[in-house]
């Protein structure tokens, strides 16, 4: 769906409008840092895109957040340094996570909440797990409030629930492609998130739309036919086939956008197809500008995206 690309573009869009941004990567190997031409992310914050310049952009900072690290932090914060080493070294986190599912998720969300509360960044963007997992990830707080009735985990889960439920602090940005199956999944996910998690949904980002091309308004066969004699026949045939392919894909995309609009009453942000699979700083900025022209007010805290 290009959710990591959209995460990068959203971060850069916020930075270009002067807001400091932290991207939190929780699944690893997303390729995010490579897009910015930077080395692999670590648990320590590192700057992915330096701000400054004539437009006064802010920095884009990023870090990873794994359950093991989050657990160590959590235990240290709660004066449980003594057991923390043992909990992790015996692999007891797996055991605890099995005893209370969602505990890994809540450790991560709890840490995100802590970062948000610190006020060190204007915007925190979480590159969340994909579709099915996103729901259980965000639902972990509600589940744990019920499962663990007392103690620090309960407190943590309650605080996270408050963050997720406050549209001024947190919104989920869903990312999809203008194709049938991704649209179906997006609609399912959107309703599940609203109903089960009670989290507020921001605009839907539809990625990979073929940009409009004036020359395609006319039937490519006619244009190629008219040019016969001025170019090689095999070239004209390729021109016609490529043009027809794009017109047909564009029609499918338009139909899917319409279907999405009917199924889900959320504003849509449309990002262009870039005709490359190599996303670098130039492509991210291109998408960031596309976002900025369509997004009057960037969401408050938390971008998650299947």
């Amino acid at each position: 769906m290009g959710k990591t690309t959209v995460t990068a573009a959203l971060a850069r869009a916020a930075a270009l409008s002067g807001r400091t941004v932290l991207i939190v990567e929780i699944e690893g190997k997303s390729g995010l840092s490579e897009m910015f031409g930077q080395p692999e992310l670590t648990y320590e914050e590192s700057v992915l895109a330096r701000g400054g310049g004539p437009d006064g952009a802010a920095d884009v900072t990023a870090r990873t957040l794994t359950p093991d690290d989050a657990l160590l932090d959590y235990l240290a914060d709660h004066g449980l340094n003594r057991v923390s080493r043992r909990l992790v070294s015996t692999g007891a986190l797996d055991m605890v996570a099995t005893a209370a599912p969602g505990i890994k998720d809540i450790l991560i969300l709890g840490k995100v909440k802590q970062i948000e509360m610190s006020g060190r960044f204007d915007l925190v963007i979480v590159d969340a797990p994909a579709a099915g997992h996103a729901i259980s990830f965000l639902r972990s707080a509600a589940g744990l409030v019920d499962a663990v009735a007392v103690g620090p985990i309960n407190t943590q889960a309650t605080d996270v629930l408050a963050m997720l439920g406050d549209p001024a602090r947190c919104q989920v940005i869903l990312v999809t492609l203008p194709e049938e199956t991704p649209v179906n999944e997006l609609v399912q996910t959107a309703y599940a998130l609203e109903e089960d998690v009670g989290v507020s949904l921001g605009p839907v980002v539809v990625n990979g739309l073929y940009p409009h091309l004036d020359g395609l308004d006319t039937d490519p066969a006619a244009v190629a036919g008219a040019a016969r004699g001025t170019l090689d026949d095999d070239l004209l045939e390729a021109v016609e086939r490529a043009g027809t392919f794009r017109r047909e894909r564009t029609e499918i995309q338009t139909a899917q956008l319409r279907r999405l609009d009917e199924l889900l009453p959320l504003p849509q942000i449309r990002l262009p197809y870039l005709f490359t699979t190599d996303v670098g700083p130039a492509e991210i900025d291109q998408l960031a500008h596309a976002l900025l022209t369509q997004l009057p007010d960037l969401p408050a805290l938390d971008g998650a995206a299947p």
């Binding site: 990591t4 190997k29 449980l80 605890v96 005893a99 099915g132 007392v150 170019l231 499918i252």
Partner: protein, 362 residues
């Protein structure tokens, strides 16, 4: 460019489709199973996909944990099922219970319900268990299985061993120690440790875990033996692994990683299937086409030439991403399935995709 993967369904008893999420693995599994039925074999396809895409593709509403037959005009048989992780685990517990009431005690335990529903790796474990069950205990000639969209290729190879390792865990033995009457000192340290854990997650949770381990006592060996047999089946030459990917750098990187890990596990990839390849309309270079477009600047033809140049550049990029991977899986055949104009949601759609995989003429 088509290929003939007929040997996949003719010479194997099991085909495992593996790869990242969102690359068309489920559809590929269904296509291979359909070909199995067409080749006269009694075939079953197991899907794990929570989006029920295979059910859509097969025109079946609500697949269940037991195979249901799909009627069609082919000499063999085609069956399909949707993996129910918890149901499969429940069956396994019942099968391995060593005394009356043991299964019921376990199935009712909250910690067990969490394991069977949420422990990471359980889904992979149960997929392999189901595969084993269908192969050993039913009379299917060919079992095609779609693996969960896991980021770690070893998860499903490792899955059968994962729970048993969990049971071998030091903590488990520590928890069990008091009831087995091992040295008192262990008990004291354990109690202190468990108190610490309880402070974090609450006492009920720890209590549930202890009850579970006590109820499970005696069943580990059965689980371990079976896990070993599942692993042997997966590495047997009659099991074929198919790697499914798409021509994007992120998923190609993951696929390369999968290929390495499978090789480490002593498993050979029998085919690489690349879905969603953009068509290559011309062999001319993007640079040449753009220059040509420049000479017609402002005309409709210029736009069309630019469009052709964009697709030419895209095809180059996609091919470049695949180079390393195709070399890595060699001599396994590489099948390129083009970007389809429509989603696959019926048997005709599966047959269309199948024509790219199983065409002996080319």
């Amino acid at each position: 460019m088509t290929a003939d993967l007929g040997h996949l369904v003719a010479d194997h008893d099991i085909v495992v489709c593996t790869g990242s999420g969102g690359v068309g693995k489920t559809t590929t599994a269904a296509v291979i199973a359909l070909e199995g039925a067409r080749a006269g074999r009694k075939t079953v396809v197991v899907t794990i996909d929570p989006a029920k895409r295979l059910a859509d593709a097969l025109g079946l509403e609500g697949l269940t944990n037991t195979p249901s037959r799909i009627e069609g005009d082919w000499p063999g048989e085609l069956w399909a099922l949707m993996l129910d992780t918890k149901g499969t685990f429940d069956d396994l517990v019942t099968k391995h219970a060593t005394e009356p009431g043991q299964a019921e005690r376990i199935l009712g335990n909250r910690f067990y319900r969490n394991i069977s529903g949420a422990l990471s790796g359980t889904q992979e474990y149960m997929a392999m268990e189901k595969l084993y069950e269908l192969h050993e205990e039913h009379d299917f000639d060919l079992v095609v299985v779609d693996t969960p969209p896991t980021r770690n290729a070893l998860d499903f190879l490792d899955a059968p061993r994962r729970l048993t390792r969990f049971l071998d865990h030091r903590l488990y033995r520590v928890v069990m120690a008091p009831t087995r009457g091992i040295v008192k000192a262990v008990g004291v340290a354990t109690q202190a440790f468990l108190r610490s854990v309880s402070r974090v997650v609450g006492g009920d949770v720890v209590g549930d875990a202890i009850t579970f381990f006590q109820a499970f006592d005696g069943m580990e060996q059965g689980f371990k033996d079976r896990a070993q047999r599942v692993l042997e089946l997966l590495t047997h030459p009659t099991t074929a692994f198919v790697l499914v990917t798409a021509p994007r750098p992120d998923v190609v990187n993951e696929a390369s990683y999968f290929a390495d890990r499978l090789a480490e596990g002593g498993i050979t990839i029998r085919a690489l299937i690349v879905n969603r390849i953009h068509p290559r309309f011309t062999n001319r270079s993007a640079t040449e086409l753009r220059a040509l477009a420049e000479t017609r600047h402002g005309t409709e033809l210029a736009d069309l030439l630019t469009n052709l140049a964009d697709f030419a550049a895209l095809a180059d990029t996609e091919e470049r991403h695949l180079e390393g991977l195709t070399a890595r899986v060699a001599p396994a055949p590489v099948v390129r399935v083009p970007f389809l104009a429509h989603d696959v949601h019926d048997l005709d759609g599966l047959a269309t995709v199948g024509s790219w995989l199983f065409s002996p003429d080319d």
